[in-house]
Symmetry: C2
C-alpha cells in the first residue's frame, strides 16, 4: 500500500496543477484533511513536501497557500529552463536508448494528433503528454543534479497548466519542436537537439509573457 502521506501529496499536487486550488488560495489543514478523509498529520507532511517543490508557501502559524507567480517570477523560471533544459537535451541525445526514442516519438506524435486544429482538437490532453515528454527527456539525460534543480522550479502551476493561451501558430511550432527534438536525437546530434529545445522554451516564454 502506498502511504497516506504519498496519496495526499499527489492529490494536492494534482489539485493545484489542475487549477482546482487557485493561486493564493488559503489551505487549511483541517479542511484538506476532511476533504481527503485522512488525519492532519499526512496533510502536514504533504504540504511540507509541496512547499519544498515550490508549489505552496507556508507562513509560520498562519498556514499554507498556493503560490502566486508574478510576471517577474515567471520570467525567472524561463531563464532557469533556458539555462538547464537545452543542456539536459544535449546529454539525452548522446545517451538515449532505442526504447527512449520510441517513447519520446510516441509522445510527440500523440501530441501532434490531439493538438491538430479541427473538431477533435483536445488542448487539455496535451498537458500530461507534454509533462511526460519533458520528464522522460530528463530521465534520459541521467543527470540527477540537473533534474533536481529543475524540478523545484518548473512544475509550477502556471507553466504547465494549460495550452489554451497558445495561439495556433505558436502551438503548431511547439508541437513540431517535440518531433524535431526526437529527430535530432535519432541523428545523434546533440547540438541540434539542444538548439531546438532552446527555441521550444523561447516560444513558450513568448506565449506566457504575452498572456499576462
Amino acid at each position: 500500500m502506498t502511504t497516506t502521506t504519498g496519496r495526499a501529496h499527489v492529490a494536492l499536487r494534482e489539485s493545484i496543477l489542475r487549477g482546482d486550488l487557485a493561486p493564493g488560495a488559503h489551505l487549511g489543514e483541517v479542511e484538506l484533511a476532511e476533504r481527503l478523509g485522512v488525519s492532519r498529520t499526512p496533510v502536514r507532511e504533504a504540504l511540507s513536501r509541496l512547499a519544498a517543490e515550490g508549489l505552496v508557501e507556508v507562513l509560520p502559524h498562519r498556514g499554507a497557500r498556493v503560490v502566486r507567480l508574478s510576471p517577474e517570477d515567471l520570467d525567472g523560471i524561463f531563464d532557469v529552463r533556458l539555462s538547464l533544459e537545452p543542456r539536459a537535451t544535449a546529454r539525452a541525445a548522446t545517451r538515449a536508448t532505442a526504447e527512449d526514442l520510441d517513447v519520446l516519438d510516441d509522445l510527440a506524435r500523440r501530441m501532434l494528433e490531439v493538438g491538430a486544429p479541427g473538431p477533435d482538437q483536445d488542448l487539455d490532453a496535451i498537458v500530461p503528454l507534454n509533462r511526460d515528454f519533458h520528464a522522460r527527456l530528463l530521465t534520459t539525460a541521467d543527470a540527477p543534479a540537473l533534474s533536481a534543480a529543475l524540478s523545484n522550479v518548473v512544475h509550477t502551476p502556471v507553466v504547465l497548466r494549460t495550452f489554451h493561451t497558445y495561439d495556433p501558430a505558436s502551438l503548431a511550432r511547439s508541437l513540431a519542436h517535440h518531433a524535431e527534438i526526437v529527430a535530432a536525437m535519432r541523428a545523434g546530434d546533440a547540438d541540434w537537439a539542444s538548439s531546438v529545445m532552446r527555441s521550444h522554451i523561447g516560444n513558450a516564454r513568448a506565449v506566457m509573457v504575452r498572456s499576462r
Copy 2:
C-alpha cells in the same frame, strides 16, 4: 520563540554540513529526538525539509540517511553551478547596491586574510565566509527561481564543507576570484564578473574531482 521544528532543522543541517553526521549514516528518528531533547514530530518535519534540500534521503518505512555523493553526482552538481551561478553573478553585477558591494568586499577580504599562508591560516574559517559570499551574491541577483534551483543542489555536504583539499595554488586562485568578482561588479562589468565566476567554479571542480 522560534519553533522547535526550525531549531531541529538548523541543528541537523549544521551537524551534517559540519560532518558530525557522516554521509550514509542512518538517521533514526527516536535517536535524533532524544539527542535534541524534543519529540519525534519536529524531527520528522526537519528531516522532511532536509530531504527537500537534498541533504538527506528518506526511504519509505526505512528511515532517513545522509546522502552520499558519487563522483558523477558531484560532477553533475558542478555542471549545474556552471550553468546558473555565472548568470546570477552577471545579474548581481547590474543590480548591486553600494551596501551589497561593501559586504561582498568585506567577505572577500576576510577570506584572503584567514586563508593567507602562514601560521595564522585558518581554513575552517573560510567555509562560513564562502557560504555567505555566494549567498549574498544570490540575493543580490534577485532571481528567486535561480536561487531556488541552486539551493537544492549546491549546499550539499561535500561541496562546501572543507577547504583542506585545496592545494596552495588553487586556494590562492579561489580567494583571489572572490575579490576579482567584486572588482568586476564595482566596474559594472557583468561579463567580466560572470566570467570570473566561471573560472571560480572550474577551479573548484578541478580540486574536487582530483581529490576523489
